[in-house]
C-alpha cells in the first residue's frame, strides 16, 4: 500500500521540478524520500488516528460483540441493525477457531479485537486490490478514498450501518469538497500576487529577486510550524513559543536565500525581451523547495492511508484498549514512511520521468502557485486529522490558477473523469472490503 503511494503519488509532486530541469532525477528521488519521510514521521500521526478509530464507532461494535457472546441477540440491549448483523456473524463463527480464537471465544473483548483486526486487514487488502486494478485499467484513483471506503465497508458488515461514525464521515466528506476549493482559492491568490507584484511590475526581474526569499521563507515557516505543532505536544502557551520559533526558521531561510540571490544577481544583465524567461528561471529555483513542501504535506496526509489500518491491527493485537488515546507509535509511522520511500525508489522514478517530460504547460511561477496552494491545504487538513486526497486538491489548485487566466487550456473533460473515478472508488472499495471481511470471518 505504502509502496503504491510512493510509486504513483509522490511522483506528481516532484515531476514538475524534474520536467523543468530544476532537479535531476536522482536529486528528486532523494529529496522526495527525505521530505516524504519527514512529513509522515512528524505529522502523519493525526490522520492515521482518524482512520484507525475515527470512522468506526467502536462502541456499537462492542455492543454487537456483547450480544453475540450472550448468544441471545434478540434480548440484547443493542439496537436492531446491530442485532441482525451480529446474529449472522455469530452463526458464521460458531465453532470455528482462530489462532487467537481461543481467547476470543472466552471474553468479548478478545472477540471485538479479532473483529477489528480482521476488519482493518480486510480494508487494507481491499483497497490494495482496487488500487492495483484501477491502475491496471489506467484510471487515477485516490488512495484516501479507497481506504476510507474500505473501512466503511467492513464496519457495515461487522456491525451494521450505525457502526460508522457518520458525523465523522460527514466531516471527512465535507473536507473532500472543501479542500479542492481551498486549494484553488489559495493557488488563485498566490498566482494573482505573483502576477501583480512580479510579472506586471515595472521591473519583473528586480521584483522576482525580492519575492523569492519571501516564498522560500514562507515555505520553511509553514513546514517548521507544522513539525513543531505536532512534535511538541505542549498545549499551554503553544502559539507563544511555536510561532516565533517557526518564524525564526523562515526568516533565517529567507535571509540566506536573499544573500545568495543578491550575490548572483549582481552580475546579471537582462535584456528587455528576455525578462520573462529570466523571471521564470528565477522562480525555477524555488521549485525544488515547493516540491519538497508538497512531498512533506503529502507524506503527512497519505502515509495514514497505509498505516492507519495497520496501526489499528497492532494496537488491538498488542492488547491496547479501545479507549486508549495513545498516539500512533512512531515506529509504525516510520514503517509507512520507509514503504513510501521504497515505492518511490523502485517505481516512482519511472512515473516521475514520464510526467516530467509531459509538462510544458507548468511554468515555474504557475507551478509555484498551484503547488503552494495544494501543499498548504493538505498540511492544514493533516494537522486537523482529516484524510483528504492530495491529487484532488492539486486539481482544485490548477483550476484556481486557470481562473486567474494562468493556463492555456484546461481539459474540463479530464477533470470530470478524475472526480468521477474517485467517487466510484468509495462504494467499490467498500464492497470489496465487506466481501473480504466476510470471507476472513468465515475462515478465522
Amino acid at each position: 500500500m505504502a509502496w503504491n503511494i510512493g510509486a504513483n503519488d509522490v511522483a506528481n509532486a516532484m515531476g514538475t521540478s524534474v520536467g523543468s530541469g530544476a532537479l535531476t532525477l536522482k536529486q528528486a528521488v532523494v529529496l522526495a524520500a527525505v521530505f516524504e519521510f519527514a512529513g509522515a514521521f512528524f505529522v502523519g500521526g493525526n490522520v492515521a488516528q482518524t482512520i484507525r478509530k475515527g470512522i468506526v464507532d467502536t462502541d456499537s461494535l462492542w455492543a454487537a460483540t456483547h450480544s453475540v457472546e450472550r448468544g441471545n441477540p434478540s434480548k440484547g440491549p443493542t439496537s436492531i441493525p446491530a442485532r441482525v448483523s451480529s446474529a449472522s456473524v455469530a452463526s458464521e463463527r460458531s465453532g470455528e477457531q482462530a489462532w487467537w480464537g481461543a481467547s476470543a471465544e472466552k471474553n468479548p473483548t478478545g472477540r471485538l479485537y479479532t473483529q477489528l483486526i480482521l476488519g482493518m486487514l480486510a480494508a487494507l487488502i481491499a483497497s490494495s486490490i482496487w488500487l492495483n486494478v484501477a491502475t491496471y485499467f489506467g484510471q487515477p484513483v485516490s488512495t484516501t478514498h479507497a481506504i476510507i471506503g474500505a473501512v466503511i465497508g467492513f464496519a457495515i458488515v461487522a456491525a451494521g450501518v450505525h457502526a460508522v461514525d457518520w458525523s465523522m464521515m460527514g466531516t471527512i466528506a465535507l473536507s473532500w469538497i472543501i479542500s479542492p476549493l481551498v486549494g484553488g482559492v489559495l493557488a488563485f491568490i498566490v498566482y494573482k500576487l505573483v502576477q501583480k507584484y512580479v510579472l506586471s511590475s515595472r521591473h519583473p526581474v528586480f521584483m522576482a529577486r525580492r519575492a523569492l526569499p519571501i516564498c522560500f521563507g514562507a515555505v520553511s515557516f509553514l513546514i517548521s510550524l507544522s513539525v513543531l505543532y505536532s512534535v511538541l505536544h505542549v498545549k499551554a502557551n503553544a502559539l507563544v513559543t511555536k510561532v516565533p520559533l517557526a518564524a525564526l526558521c523562515g526568516l533565517v531561510v529567507a535571509l540566506g536565500a536573499r544573500a545568495v540571490l543578491s550575490r548572483k544577481a549582481a552580475r546579471l544583465r537582462v535584456r528587455r525581451s528576455q525578462r520573462y524567461e529570466v523571471v521564470e528561471r528565477w522562480f525555477g529555483r524555488i521549485q525544488p523547495v515547493t516540491a519538497c513542501y508538497m512531498a512533506f504535506a503529502h507524506g503527512a496526509n497519505d502515509v495514514a492511508n497505509a498505516i492507519g489500518p495497520l496501526a489499528g491491527i497492532f494496537h488491538y493485537a498488542g492488547g491496547g484498549t479501545i479507549a486508549d488515546k495513545a498516539p500512533v507509535p512512531f515506529w509504525l509511522l516510520a514503517i509507512g514512511g520507509v514503504g513510501i520511500v521504497i515505492g518511490l525508489s523502485t517505481y516512482g522514478y519511472k512515473v516521475m520521468a514520464a510526467i516530467g517530460k509531459k509538462i510544458t504547460e507548468i511554468t515555474p511561477t504557475r507551478g509555484f502557485a498551484a503547488e503552494f496552494g495544494t501543499a498548504s491545504t493538505v498540511l492544514l487538513c493533516s494537522l486537523m486529522g482529516l484524510p483528504i486526497s492530495t491529487t484532488f486538491v492539486l486539481v482544485g489548485a490548477v483550476m484556481g490558477v486557470g481562473i486567474a487566466r494562468g493556463f492555456g487550456a484546461i481539459d474540463l473533460g479530464v477533470v470530470r473523469k478524475i472526480f468521477a473515478s474517485w467517487l466510484i472508488t468509495i462504494p467499490v472499495s467498500a464492497l470489496l472490503s465487506a466481501g473480504i471481511y466476510w470471507l476472513l470471518i468465515r475462515f478465522v
Binding site: R202, P204, Y276, I355, I362, A409, I410, D411, I418
Partner: protein
C-alpha cells in the same frame, strides 16, 4: 494511464502564433507581386502566385489544427468566440493576399507611369500593417503566460492602436489612388476595373488586419 496532469489540454496560443507568422509570409509576397505587375512580368507573377497559394494552404492547415484543438470542454483564459474570430480574421488576411496574387495574373495591367508610385506605396503600406500586426500577434503567447496583465499587455494594446492607425493611412492612399486613376482620361476601362479590384483586395486585407487587432484587444481586456 489517465494521469491527473492530463488536465492540461493543448494550449492554442503557440499554434496561433505560428499561424500568424505563416499569414504574414503570404502578405510579404505582395510587394514582389506588385513590382511584377508593374514590370508586366507574367512568368514571375505565375511563380509568385504559386508561392502565395502554397503558403495560404499551409496557413489553412495550421488554422484547422487550432480549431480541432478547441473542444468545448477546454477551459481557456480567453473567450472562445474571441479566439475563433481572431483566427478567422487572420485567415481572411491570407485569403486576400492570395486573391491579389490571382487577380494579378488575369491579364497584364498597363498602368500609366504616374500611378506607379502610389500603387507601390499602397502595397508597402499594406505589408507594413501586416508586419505591425505580426509583431502584436507574436507576443500573444508571452502575454498569455503573464495571465494577460502587466506591462507587456499594455504595450500590445498600444501597438494595436498603431495597427489601426496604419490601416487608416493605407485607406487614405487607396482613396487617393482611386481618385487619380479615375481622373486619367485615356485609361482603358478594363485596366481600371482590374486596378480597382486589386486595390480593393489590398483594402480588405488591411481591414482584416485591423479586425484581428481589435479581437486581440477584446481578449486582453476581458475581465
Amino acid at each position: 494511464m489517465l494521469n491527473p496532469l492530463n488536465i492540461f489540454g493543448q494550449s492554442p496560443f503557440g499554434p496561433l502564433v505560428d499561424h500568424a507568422r505563416k499569414v504574414h509570409e503570404c502578405v510579404s509576397l505582395i510587394k514582389p507581386v506588385a513590382e511584377a505587375i508593374l514590370a508586366e512580368n507574367a512568368a514571375r507573377l505565375e511563380e509568385l502566385h504559386k508561392q502565395v497559394s502554397k503558403l495560404e494552404f499551409e496557413a489553412d492547415h495550421i488554422k484547422d489544427e487550432v480549431r480541432e484543438n478547441l473542444p468545448h470542454r477546454y477551459y481557456l483564459p480567453v473567450d472562445r468566440d474571441d479566439l475563433a474570430r481572431f483566427l478567422s480574421s487572420m485567415d481572411k488576411i491570407a485569403d486576400d493576399a492570395e486573391d491579389f496574387a490571382v487577380m494579378a495574373m488575369f491579364r497584364p495591367l498597363r498602368l500609366p507611369k504616374e500611378l506607379h508610385a502610389e500603387f507601390l506605396a499602397l502595397a508597402d503600406k499594406v505589408v507594413a500593417v501586416s508586419e505591425c500586426l505580426l509583431g502584436v500577434a507574436e507576443q500573444l503567447a508571452d502575454i498569455q503566460k503573464g495571465g494577460f496583465t502587466g506591462p507587456d499587455s499594455k504595450e500590445v494594446l498600444k501597438r494595436i492602436a498603431e495597427v489601426c492607425q496604419m490601416e487608416f493611412e493605407s485607406d487614405k492612399i487607396n482613396h487617393q489612388l482611386a481618385r487619380h486613376a479615375y481622373g486619367v482620361t485615356d485609361l482603358d476601362p478594363i485596366t481600371l476595373i482590374l486596378l480597382d479590384k486589386l486595390c480593393r483586395a489590398l483594402g480588405k486585407l488591411a481591414d482584416h488586419a485591423e479586425n484581428v487587432g481589435k479581437n486581440l484587444r477584446l481578449m486582453i481586456t476581458r475581465k
